[in-house]
C-alpha cells in the first residue's frame, strides 16, 4: 500500500459519478497530485473540497502509479472567506487554476506552495492582495525555470531606472536604454522591484507581464491557453 500525509491546498475539483469527485491538490512536500475523493461532491464533502481550501490530506493507493484516494480534514476555509468578494474570488480562482495548469504532477514545489498558502491565508483582503498575487506568479515562473532577471538593465548593465522587460529574454531594460524598442517592451511595474507604492495601472501591467511569460513558456509549451480564470482576473484590472 502506497500513501502519504501532508498539508495541501485544493486546486480543482471535478464531479465523478453522483456524489464523488476527482480532486487536484498542491501539497507542501509532495507537490501537485490528483486523486479520487469518495463523497467529495456529497452534502458533507462539497464544502470541504472547494478550490483554495487548505486540508490535512491523506493520499493512498495500492500501487504508486494508481490514481489513489484522498481523504482530508479542513484546516482553513479560504473559499468561504472569498465567496462574498468578487476580487477575492477572482484571485483565488486564478491562483488555483494557474498552479493547476503550470505545475507538473508529483514534483515538490515548496516555494510555489508557500506562496499560494500565504495568498489563501490573506484572501479576504480581496483586490488589495493583487500585487502579492503578481509577485507569486513571478516567483512561480522562477521556480519553473523561467525567472525574470530584474536586477540590472540588459543594455547598460546598470540597476537604475528599470522600467521595462524584454518579452524575448525576460530581462529588465532601463527607461533610457529602451529607445527604439519602446513599443515592443513590456512595462515593468515598480512594485516588482521593491516596496514601491502601487500606482493605478501597476497591477494590470504586472498581470500583463506575467501573462506573457506564463503563456509563452509554461502553458504555451504544452499547447494550452491561459486558464479562463486568469483571463478574467486580467480583465478585472484592465
Amino acid at each position: 500500500m502506497e500513501g502519504w500525509e501532508d498539508e495541501a491546498i485544493v486546486l480543482a475539483v471535478r464531479a465523478h459519478g453522483e456524489g464523488h469527485a476527482l480532486a487536484s491538490v498542491l501539497s507542501r512536500e509532495h507537490g501537485h497530485w490528483r486523486g479520487h475523493v469518495r463523497g467529495g461532491q456529497g452534502k458533507a464533502g462539497r464544502g470541504v473540497w472547494q478550490p483554495g481550501n487548505r486540508l490535512a490530506m491523506r493520499w493512498s493507493a495500492r500501487l504508486a502509479d494508481q490514481l489513489g484516494h484522498f481523504t482530508g480534514e479542513l484546516e482553513d476555509a479560504a473559499a468561504a472567506r472569498a465567496l462574498d468578494d468578487a476580487g477575492a474570488l477572482a484571485l483565488l480562482s486564478s491562483a488555483c487554476a494557474v498552479a493547476e495548469g503550470a505545475l507538473h504532477e508529483h514534483e515538490a514545489h515548496p516555494l510555489a506552495y508557500g506562496g499560494l498558502a500565504a495568498l489563501m491565508d490573506r484572501i479576504g483582503e480581496g483586490d488589495a492582495l493583487a500585487p502579492d498575487y503578481v509577485r507569486w506568479e513571478v516567483a512561480l515562473l522562477a521556480e519553473l525555470g523561467y525567472g525574470l532577471d530584474l536586477s540590472v538593465c540588459a543594455v547598460t548593465g546598470q540597476p537604475d531606472d528599470l522600467a521595462f522587460v524584454s518579452p524575448r529574454t525576460g530581462r529588465a531594460v532601463s527607461r533610457g536604454a529602451a529607445g527604439p524598442w519602446l513599443d515592443r517592451l513590456l512595462p515593468l511595474p515598480p512594485f516588482l522591484l521593491g516596496n514601491a507604492a502601487i500606482a493605478p495601472g501597476d497591477v494590470a501591467a504586472g498581470l500583463r507581464l506575467t501573462a506573457h511569460f506564463l503563456g509563452r513558456d509554461v502553458f504555451g509549451l504544452r499547447n494550452l491557453p491561459l486558464p479562463p480564470a486568469r483571463l478574467r482576473l486580467a480583465d478585472r484590472f484592465s
Binding site: 480543482a12 475539483v13 471535478r14 453522483e18 458533507a44 462539497r46 464544502g47 470541504v48 472547494q50 478550490p51 483554495g52 481550501n53 479542513l74 482553513d76 476555509a77 473559499a79 468561504a80 472567506r81 472569498a82 465567496l83 462574498d84 468578487a86 474570488l89 477572482a90 483565488l92 480562482s93 487554476a97 479576504g124 486558464p227 479562463p228 480564470a229 478574467r232
Partner: protein, 197 residues
C-alpha cells in the same frame, strides 16, 4: 441469465441517478412483477413526457407548455426574477414556496474544468429579460461554491448596465443548525454575512 430485452432494461435503469447495476436489477424485477399496474403506466408516462415536455423559451424551465406554467401565471410577481443553475434548483425553491416571482435557469455555472464559458450559459436571454423594463430585481440564487459564486459575480457585473437591483442569497447558519455541528466554511461565511440584530 437474462434475455437481451431484460439486460437492456437493467442497463438503462442503471444510468438513472441513485441507481447502480444491483438496484437496477431490483427495480426491473419489481416492474416485471407489477407489469399491469406499474410497468405499462410507467412506460406510457415516459413516452408522454418525452413527447410533450420541452424547455420554456422564456426561463428554461421544463414544462408541457411554452411559455411554462410559471411564466404564464399572471399571479406571479413579474418584477422579480430568481436566477438558478438548474431546473432542479427551481423545483427546490418552488417546493419551499420561497419565491413568488419568475425564474431564469442558467443551465450550469462558469467552470474552467468543465469548460463552461459565459456563452455556454443562458446569460444573454437573462440580460434581455432584465432590460425589458418590467423587471426591478434579479436574485442570484447560485450555489455557495467557488464556481457558483464566480458565476454570481460575473452576472452581477453584466447586469449592472441594465439598472435593475441585483441581490444574492445569504450564506450562513441553516434553520435548526447548531454552531457546534457546522463546518468551518459555513461558520466563516455566516460571520462574514452578519447583520445588525
Amino acid at each position: 441469465m437474462m434475455g437481451p430485452e431484460l439486460e437492456r432494461l437493467v442497463m438503462l435503469l442503471a444510468k438513472l441517478p441513485g441507481f447502480g447495476p444491483r438496484s437496477a436489477r431490483r427495480a426491473a424485477l419489481s416492474l416485471l412483477q407489477k407489469r399491469e399496474v406499474l410497468m405499462r403506466p410507467l412506460a406510457d408516462a415516459l413516452l408522454a413526457a418525452a413527447e410533450a415536455i420541452r424547455p420554456c423559451s422564456v426561463c428554461g424551465n421544463l414544462d408541457t407548455t411554452d411559455p411554462c406554467g410559471l411564466c404564464a401565471d399572471a399571479r406571479r410577481d413579474r418584477a422579480t426574477i430568481c436566477v438558478v443553475e438548474t431546473v432542479g434548483d427551481l423545483w427546490a425553491l418552488e417546493r419551499a414556496h420561497a419565491h413568488k416571482g419568475l425564474y431564469h435557469v442558467l443551465g450550469g455555472t462558469l467552470s474552467a474544468l468543465a469548460g463552461q464559458r459565459p456563452e455556454d450559459l443562458s446569460v444573454e436571454p437573462l440580460l434581455r429579460r432584465a432590460a425589458s423594463g418590467e423587471v426591478r430585481e434579479v436574485i442570484l440564487a447560485t450555489s455557495a461554491t467557488v464556481d457558483g459564486q464566480t458565476t454570481a459575480h460575473y452576472l452581477a457585473g453584466r447586469l449592472r448596465d441594465t439598472g435593475v437591483a441585483v441581490t444574492r442569497l445569504a450564506h450562513g447558519v441553516p434553520v435548526g443548525g447548531e454552531l457546534g455541528y457546522l463546518d468551518d466554511g459555513t461558520l466563516t461565511a455566516a460571520l462574514a454575512s452578519r447583520r445588525p440584530a
